[in-house]
């Protein structure tokens, strides 16, 4: 059952939606409590997030560090812009590869949807070119991760 939608919007946005069975309060906590974030925001199998720092307040910084345990790793860092407990998070993030990517401005909404939650994540990149580069970089990372996984299988 695929409940995820992913689409580009206009020239600079990427919008992702997903329904969750839990109410907004619970989903919001899973997105903002470092101990919980470390359990799910991991990407492909085999990757872990040994460092997860979240200073949950407007202007507060966060930092996620991933590793595959075989010498490959990268991190994302940024700061919170606005926080409306249980309904909305606005933050800016940059991926360090190792140089920082341009600011990705992300608004995440948690709207009650039946007994669950509809999450809407709306990314805004500085311009069309940056969005294109982000999508393409994501591809390279995805490929790299696939190759790393492949290495493990051989």
């Amino acid at each position: 059952m695929s409940k995820l939608t992913l689409k580009t919007e206009g020239d600079t946005h990427v919008v992702v939606t997903r329904h969750f069975a839990a109410p907004p309060e619970v989903v919001y906590r899973a997105f903002t409590d470092p101990k919980l974030v470390q359990k799910w925001l991991l990407g492909p199998d085999g990757w872990t997030m040994p460092v997860c720092i979240i200073d949950l307040k407007p202007g507060g910084k966060f930092r996620y560090e991933w590793t595959n345990g075989k010498g490959h790793g990268f991190h994302i860092a940024g700061e919170f812009v606005e926080l409306q407990p249980f309904s909305r998070i606005v933050h800016i993030e940059r991926m360090y590869l190792p140089d920082p990517t341009p600011d990705n401005y992300i608004e995440t909404r948690f709207d009650a949807d039946g007994t669950g939650t509809l999450m809407t994540m709306r990314m805004t990149l500085p311009d069309a070119k940056t969005r294109a580069a982000m999508l393409a970089t994501g591809m390279e990372r995805g490929m790299e991760m696939s190759y790393v996984r492949l290495e493990g299988m051989i």
Partner: protein, 111 residues
């Protein structure tokens, strides 16, 4: 990989997206493509070149005409990448479903 980068860059322009939408309905000549956009032929040709270099469209020779159509390989590569991105996100959110179920359970236990 470079081709995908070029493909996403090519899609950054609204006119080029509209051209692809038109070609999704079937082959068209430069003249036919230029009409709805109120653009000169050279301007359209420039957009077509970007799309062609990105591997998103191909041309055919028919007398003096060069009708364009979608390049299935290029479009498929982009679809595949979007599907992969979806898969990575879906994997995270499937894990999150499990985390959420555990959180709800804990709350229930406390009652």
């Amino acid at each position: 990989m470079n081709n995908l980068d070029a493909a996403f860059s090519a899609l950054a322009d609204p006119t080029r997206r509209a051209i692809l939408a038109r070609l999704a309905k079937g082959e068209a000549t430069v003249n036919e493509l230029a009409k709805p956009f109120e653009m000169t032929q050279p301007a359209i040709s420039q957009h077509l070149k970007v799309l062609e270099d990105a591997g998103l469209i191909v041309r055919r020779v028919e007398g003096t005409k060069r009708p364009r159509r979608l390049a299935s390989a290029g479009i498929a590569a982009m679809d595949q990448w979007l599907a992969m991105l979806r898969k990575a996100l879906e994997k995270n959110y499937d894990r999150l479903d499990g985390v959420l179920a555990g959180m709800e359970l804990k709350k229930g236990e406390r009652r």
